[in-house]
């Protein structure tokens, strides 16, 4: 989604994109969130390989909760950018692309957060596994 949004912004502004600070900021935010999501994912994979998948429900929950809110921020930045660089039919087609890219089954973040909270409350501090 970040690459798509960045691409359409580049198409419009080319090198002059550097002067569009709000758009550049939106692209940076999406890249940052993508790096964060990917890092959390890789970490859970590594932990699962180390401890076995059944033992890593807590880190998976933490990663999922983070990813759910990260996706919201990515979508919001992408929409902001699309609205700023297009209009009319072109815009509608871009929004359709964003909808396709952002399609995913939502996590039950209420339940996930309850589980995470329970674990850290019992431990009295932040724990990973």
């Amino acid at each position: 989604m970040g690459l798509f949004a960045a691409g359409i912004a580049m198409q419009k502004y080319m090198q002059a994109i550097q002067e569009q600070q709000e758009l550049v900021g939106a692209i940076a935010n999406m890249a940052i969130e993508a790096y964060a999501m990917e890092s959390a994912l890789l970490r859970t994979q590594k932990l699962a390989a180390q401890h076995g998948e059944t033992a890593v429900a807590h880190p998976i929950a933490m990663a999922q909760v983070h990813m759910a809110s990260a996706m919201e921020r990515i979508e919001s930045n992408a929409r902001k950018l699309v609205a700023a660089v297009s209009e009319g039919d072109t815009q509608r087609s871009y929004i359709a692309v964003l909808r396709r890219l952002s399609k995913h089954e939502p996590y039950n973040t209420v339940a996930l957060r309850q589980k995470i909270a329970q674990k850290v409350i019992e431990a009295g501090k932040y724990v990973v596994v």
Binding site: A28, M30, I32, G124, V128
Partner: protein
């Protein structure tokens, strides 16, 4: 260097001025070669210099001949060098922050760090590593904070039960934990990549190569700084006094100019970690 590493002397990094911050190469401090070519005479001021209250050795950036951006090692006892008063800050009060005044400050020519006109190489590396450290510091302090927050939530009562039993409080705690987990993931991952790249250098490598590696991960380091200081982690450290300062790290010099390289890199695709 050995004394700095051992903590026998303390260093400080003096780049920012009243009129230049994010535009770090725009310094006004001037350096002119003395008539006998033995000294550079520095004139100008620096603002918001961490450690200035007690540092012994300062890396000061000035322009030679009005345009050659150069790094100088200035000792506290040099003629013409003075440290101003401690700033009143909203947070990180344990960190000394003072202005510096350079009034015909005499700096021996041997104290040029690197080459004249190549001061940017000296400046950017600590900024890259510093960016990483600030983000990592935020994650670390969030880890400490969540412990005191949980402790408080388990003993404070409202409506007949401890507040840790309420759904919205638990939601906040879960978000803190999720943020710490992700922050740790980014910090360890980035450092792992830098370590792996450094390990690949041959023995007897040049420091310039190490610097180049750190430069290559500059984007990731900036990401960590911006994310760490602006994410919900910094709001949760509201319980710790430094929160205003950590939140401001997002809007310091690295944020706006960082957005450009992060997004340009994203557009071109050379971000090392996302292949």
């Amino acid at each position: 260097m050995p004394k700095l590493a051992a903590g026998e002397i303390v260093g400080a990094f003096a780049l920012s001025e009243s009129f230049s911050g994010s535009d770090s190469l725009n310094v006004r401090t001037r350096a002119e070669l003395s008539a006998d070519s033995k000294y550079y005479i520095l004139n100008g001021e620096k603002m918001w210099i961490p450690n200035a209250g007690f540092a012994d050795l300062f890396t000061v950036f000035a322009k030679v001949e009005g345009e050659k951006f150069t790094a100088f090692l200035v000792e506290r006892n040099f003629l013409g060098f003075a440290v101003g008063r401690e700033e009143h800050k909203m947070g990180i009060r344990g960190s000394s922050t003072c202005p510096l005044i350079l009034n015909d400050c005499q700096v021996p020519v041997e104290n040029v760090l690197g080459e004249v006109g190549k001061g940017h190489l000296i400046a950017f590396n600590p900024l890259n590593v510093g960016g990483f450290k600030l983000g990592a510091g935020c994650v670390g302090s969030a880890r400490r904070c969540i412990e005191s927050v949980i402790g408080y939530a388990k003993q404070r009562k409202a409506f007949g039960k401890v507040i840790a039993d309420f759904g919205l409080i638990r939601e906040k705690l879960a978000d803190m934990a999720a943020g710490i987990f992700t922050g740790e993931a980014m910090v360890y991952r980035t450092l792992g990549m830098v370590d792996a790249a450094i390990a690949q250098l041959q023995a007897g490598h040049d420091l310039a190569q190490v610097r180049k590696i750190i430069d290559e991960y500059a984007i990731e380091c900036s990401i960590i700084k911006v994310w760490g200081s602006s994410s919900s982690i910094s709001w949760w450290t509201k319980w710790c006094r430094s929160s205003a300062a950590t939140a401001s790290w997002r809007s310091t010099r690295r944020s706006a100019p960082t957005a450009i390289p992060v997004s340009i890199a994203f557009l071109r695709g050379p971000m090392k970690s996302i292949a």
